[in-house]
Symmetry: D2
Subunit: 345 residues, 4 copies
């Protein structure tokens, strides 16, 4: 059994990871770290896990991590995460980090968007961006995997093949994403009070969302040239789910071109479902799973290609993607522990 530990286990992504690892046939979870809930039974915080998870939260530091730990997940927020993760890497532990701290290849860009210092920019070179459909080989041997952001996952998976194959241009890519409220986490603030967000639809952080540089970095690498996007996130009153509606020029491409491109890249991937003509993704169809659904329409009237993707923001957008990364790192079946189909309704 592979021995796993989780730092910052009591947020929503941490808790989903705990649930997934409990189901996983090859994993034994050996510690759940939490500063604020030290000494509290995990299932007293997450009552869904009663009778399933018997651990009590511990406050762990680099010296108290058991030496035989095979993999450490950090589900801490950015800035705090690097301060915890750097000493662990130093000591030789393999780490999957959920925060933004190791996703951007240039410290400058990180520091600009996140308005904080990076503590060790040399790690940025070694960190592997954990999108397993794209970086399988590097992830397999990585010591530090930077688990992608939720919006980026929903945007990169549909766009990367199209840019890689030069089917679309590197400009005028308009991205309108909608996310459920769990993306704001479990700490209380006016932003996620039920009565403020329920029965409400709104846009926020237009052009300024911190996931923007991460999206542009990966799109640019695929395109081989600088890609610049407009990214508008919206908050929707559902627990989970991201739907991204991405518009770009359809000049010179046909439905067949795109179908062939997706088939080539994703035809054999377990978690990407390309929808046939006439069908479009919806978040309910992926909720609770590691799937990313992708559908598209070419609108000849306007000359635009519209690609729509749907993921569960806490799973393919975070925790189950981390488990998929771990499966790749340890040579397991990529789907191990991730077989559950979404529930409906």
């Amino acid at each position: 059994m592979i021995k796993a530990g989780i730092i910052g286990a009591t947020g929503y992504t941490g808790a989903e990871l705990v649930r997934l690892l409990e189901l996983h046939p090859e994993i034994e979870t050996i510690f759940l770290d939490s500063r604020s809930y030290e000494g509290i039974r995990f299932s007293d915080i997450y009552p869904n896990l009663r009778g399933k998870v018997h651990d009590t939260c511990q406050s762990i530091n680099v010296d108290s991590v058991p030496e035989d730990t095979d993999i450490i997940f950090s589900a801490l927020p950015h800035r705090i995460s690097q301060s915890k993760v750097l000493p662990l890497i130093e000591k030789g532990f393999r780490v999957i980090d959920f925060s933004a701290d190791f996703r951007l290849r240039e410290a400058k860009i990180y520091e600009h968007w996140y308005e904080t210092k990076h503590l060790d920019d040399r790690t940025l070179e070694k960190a592997v961006y954990g999108l397993p459909e794209w970086y399988t080989a590097s992830i397999a041997k990585a010591g530090l995997v930077a688990n992608p952001g939720c919006f980026p996952t929903s945007i990169l998976l549909p766009l990367l093949p199209l840019l890689k194959e030069n089917l679309i241009k590197n400009k005028d890519i308009i991205i309108d994403s909608k996310t459920g409220v769990s993306g704001a986490g479990r700490s209380s603030s006016e932003v996620n009070i039920f009565s403020q967000v329920n029965e409400n639809i709104k846009a926020y952080n237009i052009g300024k969302h911190r996931h923007t540089p991460e999206i542009e970095q990966e799109l640019s690498l695929a395109a081989g040239s600088s890609v610049n996007i407009l990214f508008t996130p919206h908050l929707i009153p559902v627990d989970r789910g991201i739907l991204s509606t991405i518009v770009m020029s359809a000049e010179g491409i046909t439905r067949k071109d795109i179908e062939a491109c997706y088939e080539a890249y994703y035809g054999k991937k377990s978690f990407i479902r390309i929808l046939k003509e006439g069908y479009l993704p919806e978040t309910k169809a992926v909720k609770g799973s590691n799937f990313c659904d992708i559908g598209f329409v070419i609108d000849s009237r306007s000359g635009k290609l519209v690609v729509v993707s749907a993921i569960d923001n806490l799973l393919k957008g975070s925790s189950s993607q981390a488990v998929q990364n771990m499966n790749v790192m340890f040579g397991l079946e990529e789907t191990a522990g991730l077989n559950a189909a979404p529930i409906w309704p």
Copy 2:
């Protein structure tokens, strides 16, 4: 007192109209027509109106409409509406029609998008498009007002001044709209079952929504040239509200330009609220009212202008806009009966 009658009163827009007219100081509602609910008390269908509305539904036809009726609202679906409205106009009644039957100036375009014959295309010339912020003078003397669609209202109000003043170009306008479920009406179908749409986000009818030609017609008139849009509607699990996120090139324009433009067109309008810098519309802030909130951001990184608008789809998107039209038609205060502020939360 002005005497009003409603044909097709028992759908959501009809019922909202009944509620608004009951509040209106200058209106007496003299009949509520419904074929399917004939003989049923209106407040047995809409329990919110118990003690407020005492009428019973009648099945009315052109011959049984009281001669002293001053204004007739038709809240019937397209196709059925024209067959009822045409004889009423013939007889000289003034009519506000909620359907799409008289919105498009060309019968051909109507017939293409709605896949049905128009029964009398000569009426299309006489019908006035009922966007009261734009067509006040014509509405005032109109015999037939075509009340705008909900999506078009949310899109035209922010875009018309910008096109009219040539601040933006007539192409590459990308519109991503989100609507609450009441837009699908009160008749039951799998599309509006709670369990199918709750906890779900999805796009539908990409590039094919029937409101497209209506939007393009009015934008083109304002621009003085043919405007072509991409319109993607989404379904969101809230009762009410439309949020439209509209992206276009920001080339050559500044925040000040747009603020000045909106101030010139809407500074004195009662129902348009232009938000100051740093604020963005949200549907909850307009729910239950005739307001249209508009905010915008210029993203210098991508060179795009993002305009966001919010309306209540059943009110400014339908029934209260109809009352506003009626106020204009009868020389009343434009705000008469429409003073209620939205409730929060």
Copy 3:
């Protein structure tokens, strides 16, 4: 015009009061007090009121209250409210208090349930319990009105006539109430985070909710003997609304008895709607209004009477009830400013 001021205006009940007073034909609001939002425009906190309410929050104390203020509403939480309200009463201002601080006639009971000292128990004798359907005469001349709790309002209105007329017994009254999340207010805590309460149904504070003694006090006064209840509140993922399902023995009573009793007490009341046989209250039918809907069933199989009531917790359960109280205090029409019908859907 009557001059009104609001202390603690920025919570949900305060904001609803601001909205209602703006609509009220005989009221001028002269100050909106808030410590935490001093200097902030009220409509920047509550965007629904943009263009409607132009005031900026001030931090007011007893010495800065304008002398010509006719009525002061305190929408502060219990304990803090009495410390602000007592000096105002001392100075001769008429006050309507939204908190629990003046609802209970015995300081001991207050101190037991609210676990805090009462600062001046002599005021408890003078305070009038502000249920306008029951205490009209005393409210009319009151200097201090204790506005009822939301659950108590939904429970007292249906039960008081039945107990007053001895139609039901004073024991084995089982009350199961369900409330929307706005009852938890606008301050953020894990209790009202969207993701914790959405898609969830739960009971809380069984037998321990602080509204219990207030309910029992008023029921006992009506019955002329001590009434003891079991009260179980539940949290439901809606913005607004309380539905109370109240079960008691139906021994010796018929549907006619209850109908006659309600007709006698409420037949002429503007805001109580007694539903006819075959209909039951639902919260959506009262949302946004001052109505209390009451319906009932006698189940002969079990020998029980089930009475169901519905109110909007922020309105008849708080702010609009306060306006109704003010109307009574100043000899206005009881319905002044409260005419809006609920919206549907």
Copy 4:
């Protein structure tokens, strides 16, 4: 591998069963019957199952059922189900029926409450009521299992041990249940339109719900005397979940008594979680699982015992309970295929 077929597979409970059987390590699903969707891919109806379930719906009758079918599930509505199930039993197939057609031991009671004839009342004697925590032995050898109703499951599991052990009396049991909307199924009617039930709380069918006789039958069997209840169901705007709040006299019992009773009956059961003091069930904690959570409070003020239970209405209230029954019937681990923990949030 055990060969299973499903009749009436396209409703919500049918679809959940399809999902569960796909996950089950020992089951092979050999047919999915549907009259209305014949020839349609199942995953085109339930997009959550894309890539997981590849079957196409067939219209199956008694003669076309493959002879080597080991178990047939009927997820048809009552009345229709018996007409399909009776010939299958006749032919010797083992059947688990989801409808009410075989739950009541007396045809008369069935006919009274369901207002339809029973086609073969001799089967009622042979049918086993499929509450696996109570009838394990009979289920193991049953030819026909009547899968319990959703409300009954949530009510029987907490009450049966208390009645069996005479801890509580057989009268004055007041049950207030709240259900999510998926209980109304997937066929569209005004009852389950989003806009009618969202942001709404209501009671329905007070004292008349068809699950009443089923609850009383099983409670009476446990008590050894006739038990009569008052059952009030409520509709709550969530996808899934039933919370039942059950009130009865606490005379002569202590917390310890009840804890000991539950420990004796359920201490070793996999799917019943008894909550410790200070904790209460919530539907979100069981959603997506086969768990039934039970908590309770003794309120000494009123002398009442309040027991609260939570289940997922489509799972423990239907489809996963059916799988649990099947596991018992075929001597498999009771938990086979049912290991998934609920997701949160």
